[in-house]
């Protein structure tokens, strides 16, 4: 559940922050989100990764279908992968890698600074 929530929050955050600042800003936002939500290492990594990847691919697909341009195909050829789908996948992978490590960084930061409670098993006097 935390994974899904973190993924959706990352996706929304990247869509908002990336457009207003840059992909570096989006990475910083995912780090902060990871710190605040601290969903666990697995969820932070894959949630952040898929969140940013989905944000990028959904925007790329929106642009592709709203404009009808064949530029992705041309860029695919230029990259030597010869298809728009491949260039979309490369975009997704780059987004994933940046988002995943950002999410994990945030979560690990939380782990580092959290205060461990030291009276869990003290019981009643």
């Amino acid at each position: 559940m935390k994974f899904i929530a973190f993924l959706i929050l990352s996706l929304v955050l990247v869509l908002l922050v990336n457009g207003a600042t840059s992909y570096i800003g989006a990475m910083a936002a995912v780090i902060v989100l990871g710190t605040l939500i601290h969903p666990g290492s697995f969820a932070a990594f894959f949630g952040g990764g898929f969140g940013m990847a989905l944000a990028w691919t959904s925007l790329a697909l929106y642009l592709k279908f709203s404009t009808g341009s064949d530029l992705p195909e041309k860029m695919g050829e230029l990259f030597g992968v010869n298809s728009a789908l491949a260039i979309l996948l490369i975009t997704a992978v780059i987004g994933f890698v940046l988002g995943a490590f950002s999410g994990l960084s945030g979560h690990l930061f939380w782990k580092m600074i959290r205060k461990k409670p030291n009276n869990i098993y003290r019981g009643n006097p």
């Binding site: 570096i24 642009l63 592709k64 404009t67 530029l71 975009t91 940046l98 960084s105």
Partner: protein
């Protein structure tokens, strides 16, 4: 442990963020390029998707209206010239910024700044030819002689710069994103530099090759193979034109001592094969409507973004429409409410080489007559991407730059030749076009041309008053016969250019009796013209076909003029093929394919239409025959010029046993017949292999016309294998990489009817639907409506933008 993992993962994250923003070797920075918020995905918008109804532009005196028609052709309506050209700069940059900047960087020898050391040699060559030097002199010339023009060029530059300043990461043209650099400020100097770049594209010389050939075969044989005028000369200016002036006289040297070195260096890069043009005008006496009709189609390298950008420019004073050169002011080939004009390259040797004898290693002085003259040094600082700035020192003599010397191509012979070129002389070509845009009649046209220096052009003209005219305009030195054909001794003052042909002596004609004027890069005049005229590259086929058709046609319509621009008749084949078939030893081959190919050639009507197979067979056979005929010359292993196709065919027909066809390096005695038969065998083998590998050898499939992006490595931004006919030496001169870069037909009636097309699209953005949308029409000879528009016309509008003065 938690500290360790956090620091490790954070370092990986920061490294990823950092390295994703940096280029990896030749690859562009990945994240900025792929990020759909700013990367190439943002370049998928077409111009109408991003249309703005209102924009503010600083410096405007009054509002300017820009109406884009359905083809994205902007029609700019301004109240005064300054506003007009400011808006032209802004609008052109909006659609062609990367192209105009890239071309000026190429002209300035600055490509290394973009692509790194791989372009260093090219940049050094460009700088050593002195294009930037010529543009600097041109700017000084404008400052001194036409200061009133500076506010207009500055306004254009300011318009460009306001667009550059408005750009953000997302709206940057995609080429900047891929090549990872940003646009810099435009300036008046760059507009002038662009026109110098045209000179470089259009002008060549063969002094090196002629010098070598003269040394090897001697002057006498050279004169036989390279006569000054062809037998069937059909010049630009009608042959019966009477020259009613006294020519400027010059001193002819008593004896000629040419430098006698055999030079094995590579010649300077020459204009690409297929670069040329057609233009003509027919008078009302030959047209169905009684109105003059003018046509122009400049043949240049086929590139994307297109060399040309169409526009209408209107003020209360004038309204002009046609093809602009992105980066230059006004319209270059077009029409207004009163006249139409067009250009073709007026090839005439305006580039000469002088051998320099330096006094010593310092090269600070050189021999000139009995004295030692001081040379000067120009330091060229070439910035190189990823490396330290390269410093190149170029020696200048009074002739011009020493292109090759001990520091450039020093592995070759010590050459030290100085390049004399009209491009290095102050001039103001821009003014010609500004004046021409406003011209109302023949007198205005002639006055506009007086400012034009280089590259020399055949300016065709027609007016609503009914006049048609042609003038060959450029700055031409007065030369004695043979001057400039070979390398000359720079120490001998007798070799100097002594004077220039006055503008009023340049060949021109007005309303000739034959009812038309025309040019197709052929000889400008017949031998009665009192000045020496020479160039290696004069056309011998398109001109005769064009003039033949114009003589034949009467009651001419616009449709017939369009058809003539798209005419695929292969005159060279019509003259050469019968000779070649006659020289074939057998007409009855056992080989089925050989028989089939020969029959196809015999049945051919000599039209190089895209679906025809015979043009492929002829092209292949002729190419091999020509190579065979002059193979011995290739074996000399020094650059020489070969006789042109016209002279070669003439010699094959009239003297097939000529000594020139015997390769002295073999034991047998070869004749034209030997070469033709051997070439036929090779052609058959070649075509069989081609058929096996590629299939259908229809002409369009074989010649593979491609329209290439300015960065050839960006193949996917090019359009390949365009299905179209024509070829080099044909009126529709569309070969593999060159052809009609712009076609225009204008009928000067009431109202003026105009048609135009070019192989590309108005947008410079490879992601836009307007990037290459004209090509399919261009390939089949169709045109766009180019009539002048009024500011309130409402039909076929894509969108409008109002430019208002910035408060």
């Amino acid at each position: 442990m938690k500290y360790f993992w956090f620091i490790l993962v954070l370092l990986i994250t920061l490294s990823l963020g950092y390295f994703a923003s940096k280029p990896l070797g030749p690859a562009p920075p990945l994240a900025p390029l792929l990020d759909p918020n700013v990367g190439f995905w943002q370049n998928m918008y077409s111009e109408d998707d991003l249309a703005a109804e209102n924009l503010e532009l600083a410096g405007l005196n009054s509002p300017v209206k820009v109406v884009y028609d359905e083809n994205l052709i902007p029609h700019i309506f301004a109240d005064n010239d300054e506003d007009l050209y400011r808006a032209q700069g802004y609008v052109t940059a909006k659609h062609r910024l990367w192209q105009m900047e890239f071309q000026t960087m190429a002209a300035a020898g600055r490509i290394s700044e973009i692509v790194g050391p791989v372009a260093l040699e090219l940049d050094r060559m460009t700088r050593r030819k002195g294009l930037a030097y010529g543009a600097e002199l041109g700017y000084e010339f404008v400052q001194e002689n036409h200061p009133e023009m500076l506010p207009l060029i500055d306004a254009f530059a300011d318009g460009v710069n306001q667009y550059v300043e408005s750009l953000n990461d997302a709206s940057l043209p995609v080429e900047y994103k891929i090549l990872n650099y940003r646009p810099e400020k435009w300036s008046a100097y760059k507009s002038l530099l662009l026109l110098k770049y045209m000179s470089d594209m259009l002008m060549g010389d063969r002094d090196l090759q002629y010098s070598n050939l003269r040394k090897i075969i001697g002057q006498e044989k050279l004169d036989v193979l390279f006569p000054e005028f062809p037998e069937e000369n059909d010049p630009v200016i009608e042959a019966d034109r009477v020259w009613d002036f006294t020519p400027v006289s010059i001193d002819v040297p008593d004896s000629l001592n040419y430098p006698n070195d055999a030079l094995t260096i590579d010649p300077l890069p020459q204009p690409e094969d297929g670069v040329g043009s057609n233009n003509w005008a027919v008078s009302g006496s030959k047209t169905q409507s009684g109105n003059p009709i003018l046509a122009n189609d400049p043949h240049l390298s086929l590139n994307l973004p297109s060399l040309w950008y169409s526009m209408q420019l209107t003020t209360p004073e004038f309204s002009v429409k046609g093809a602009t050169l992105p980066g230059a002011l006004g319209v270059i080939s077009g029409f207004n409410e009163n006249i139409a004009w067009g250009v073709t390259n007026a090839t005439k040797d305006a580039r000469d080489w002088y051998k320099i004898t330096f006094e010593d290693e310092s090269r600070s002085s050189y021999r000139y007559g009995d004295e030692w003259r001081k040379s000067s040094f120009r330091i060229e600082e070439i910035k190189v991407k990823g490396e330290e700035t390269f410093i190149d020192t170029v020696v200048y003599t009074h002739y011009g730059p020493v292109v090759y010397d001990k520091s450039f191509r020093s592995d070759r012979q010590d050459v030290n030749f100085s390049l004399k070129w009209t491009v290095h002389m102050g001039s103001n070509e821009q003014l010609t076009f500004l004046k021409m845009n406003k011209a109302k009649n023949h007198q205005d046209y002639m006055a506009a041309l007086d400012h034009y220096t280089a590259p020399a052009q055949n300016f065709v003209f027609a007016s609503r008053e009914g006049d048609i005219a042609m003038r060959i305009q450029g700055k031409f030195p007065v030369k004695w016969e043979g001057q400039g054909k070979f390398f000359m001794d720079g120490a001998d003052p007798q070799m100097e250019w002594q004077a220039y042909i006055p503008n009023e002596h340049n060949p021109s004609t007005l309303n000739p009796e034959r009812g038309f004027v025309s040019s197709a890069n052929q000889h400008p005049v017949d031998p009665s013209y009192p000045y020496y005229v020479f160039d290696n590259s004069y056309e011998h086929y398109r001109n005769r076909r064009l003039n033949g058709e114009l003589r034949r046609l009467n009651s001419i319509t616009v449709e017939e003029m369009k058809a003539l621009q798209f005419d695929d008749y292969y005159l060279h084949a019509a003259e050469a093929l019968p000779v070649m078939i006659e020289l074939l030893e057998t007409q009855d081959f056992q080989d089925e394919k050989a028989s089939k190919y020969l029959q196809e050639l015999k049945d051919w009507d000599f039209y190089a239409d895209p679906n025809q197979k015979a043009p492929t067979l002829f092209y292949n056979w002729w190419g091999k025959t020509y190579d065979q005929l002059w193979k011995e010359w290739e074996d000399w292993d020094v650059p020489v010029v070969r006789p042109n196709y016209y002279q070669t065919v003439k010699l094959m027909r009239e003297n097939p046993g000529s000594e020139f066809f015997d390769n002295k390096m073999t034991d047998e005695v070869e004749t034209a017949k030997t070469h033709v038969n051997k070439a036929f065998e090779e052609m058959v083998a070649d075509m069989k292999e081609w058929e096996n590998e590629e299939g259908d050898y229809a002409w369009a499939n074989y010649k593979r016309t491609s329209i290439q992006h300015l960065v050839p490595q960006f193949e996917s931004f090019s359009v390949k294998n365009v299905y179209t006919g024509g070829g080099s030496g044909i009126l529709n001169a569309t070969s593999s990489r060159a052809g009609a870069s712009w076609r225009m037909v204008v009928e000067l009636g009431e109202p003026i009817k105009a048609f135009g097309i070019y192989p590309g699209g108005q947008s410079g953005n490879p992601g836009s639907k307007y990037y290459d949308n004209f090509i399919s029409k261009w390939a089949i000879g169709e045109y766009l409506n180019f009539d002048l528009r009024g500011s309130n016309q409402t039909e076929n509008i894509l969108f409008e933008t109002n430019l208002t003065p910035k408060r």
